[in-house]
Amino acid sequence: MDVLIYLVPIALALGLTGLAAFLWSLRSGQYDDMDGAAVRALMDDDII
């Protein structure tokens, strides 16, 4: 079971990374306009 010594911290670190990424996206206002984000993804005027 020695494998747990590094697998568990890795699992927790991955989870925390996900949490941090979510909190960052929340802070940068990515959840303020959910409907808009859905349709903006389909706009292709920035691809030239």
Binding site: G15, L26, G36
Partner: protein, 732 residues
Amino acid sequence: MSETLDLSMFVTRTPAGAAHMDLAVEGVGCASCIRKIESGLKQVRGVAQARLNFTDRRLAVDWNDSALSAGDIILELERIGYRAQPFRPQSAEADEARMGRWLLKCLAVAGFAAMNIMLMSVSVWSGHVSDMTQETRDLFHWLSALIALPAAAYAGQPFFRSAIRTILGGHVNMDVPISIGVTLALALSLYETATHAQHAYFDSAIMLLFFLLCGRYLDHAMRRKTRAFAGNLAALKAEVAHRFEDDNELATVPVSALQPGDRLLVRPGERVPADGVVVSGASEIDESLVTGETLQRPIYAGEAIYAGSRNFHGALVMRVTAVAAGSLLDEVQRLLDRAVTAKSNIVQLADRAASRYAPVVHVTAAMSVAGWLIAGASLHQAIVTGIAVLIITCPCALALAIPAVQVVASGAMFRCGLILNSGDAIERLAEADTVVFDKTGTLTLPEPQVDNAADIPPDMLERAARLALSSHHPLARAVAAVARQRLPYDGATEETGRGVRALVDCAEARLGSPAFCGSETAPGAAADGASTLMFAWGGQFWPLVIRQKLRPDAIEAARALKSLGLEIHILSGDRPSAVAPVAAELGIASWHGGLKPADKIALLEEMKRARRRVLMVGDGLNDAPALAAAHVSLSPITAADIAQAQADGVFLGERIAPVVSAVGIARRARALMMQNLWLAVIYNVVAVPVAIAGYATPLIAAAAMSGSSILVTLNALRARKRSSSEGASWMS
């Protein structure tokens, strides 16, 4: 014209020094509008940033105000094809947005913790049947504790705070058993971990928080969406007032910028923008939005006038005042205060359920501790069983049962054109067995209409309507509304208080009082509140009867409400002679006219004593106390502000249909709420004996809790059903 709209109160400064303004935009329907508006604005020189929020239809613009004024931006948007009005985000809305972000953060933390603890828990559970050593299990329990305790301390705050608040207030709500359950589960698990025991309930406690936060966030998001929509409607009304500045020059300012003491000019045909006292001038005003009375009232200097009245003939100078003692507004305010206190006695279904549920659960837990002790179990074992009972009964399903339905049902009502102020209005709406309508502006359309349009040849009507476009008179405005071509005639002259004339197709056309048109027949104002304008052209006379017409679907709505088993009454401030024909047309037997605000309340009290649950639908200033006193209340969007603030919901458009669909949706929603509560009870009846018997392992607790939560949520989704077909086309 030198008089320009002063928008400076809406403009704020960004840290970079640019001007910033938020606008509510009308007519944003599809994704391409985003690009049209944003790229259209960015092409304008001086605009630094334009971003449209598609969810709440609001546009944020940053620009360099040395090159561009706020008014230019609105004009530019109009050129692109959208009507926009600036608004000041209200502090309540900012608080709600902050609250929403906080809930989402709590949800994220709880979700992260629940996933990672479950990772440990599943290993432990499978370890029970394989070869996991006790040391490894303890390590996993300690790791779970390490994640769970800080996560619960953070993510549980919405519940802990609300529980403490209600306990201090001497009540019990659903958050009390939740907080007790979560805290005890964590404490027990910590103790069990420290004593190397087999079971720990960290996963249950955190999962419970996660499910409940999901429900709470959805509830909050729905409320915020409807609130933002209502805010946009208010902004797009774009009410302005003409204010005398210090140098006696006239400036046009948004109504929200008015202060007591301001002197205003109210021109003929305009609405009075604020409550106040007439300083000079004399006129006639239509106070139908204030008192329900449809006949005009002469007004002179020194008299009080109220926001929403329409000025007819003469220009008035008024002073905005705060509430003056003895005025109608003062009386309304007093009645309001009393009604609001009385209403706080209504207990919500959820709190009623909680106040019955919490004692039962806590007594059951205590009894199972006592029972096990009597049966000879150790104190430790008895307490473990008692807490397991608390965990398994922790009202996960119960706390989701009602909010989940509220979210879905208020979404369905929103699609029908009804904006609810509070989720608990749904259950009160479902209980209503009596509807009380105000007449003026509620059963009838708020603006007067031409009643006999069908009797007049279409080309004549069109001429009259186009001529009316050149008049400020409120009655002429009703005629102008039927114009197909909104093209005023050249050279039209208005004689104030008499009429308007112009040369139309080689003959003089006149629209106005019968005397002005040279007609001998002078019907004047009819007894039922109708007024007659005369239209003369080429020696022919056509009387135009103008009155407040019934809303287009009033008759069907009255019939539909009756078929839903509701008793209908009309309580109007208008003269009985004006109420009678409306009541007769709608087939409503019980009606009263000429009522003062206090009379309306007295009649509502009488109904209340007869154990009726009253749905009040009204729009006037005089209805506000009755709206607050009724069991549940709705207002049309055209209602006076004070009435709208008291109503539980606002309906949009010209039709009453949203009221009817709302009652239907609310009843279905309440049935689902009851079903959900029963589902939660059945779940407890099955699960509690298992817990009392001591078989509630963490695995069983987790499965039972998530199972029941998902079940009630799925059941709540049924409130959506059929609402799409009921959805009116008001959104188009």
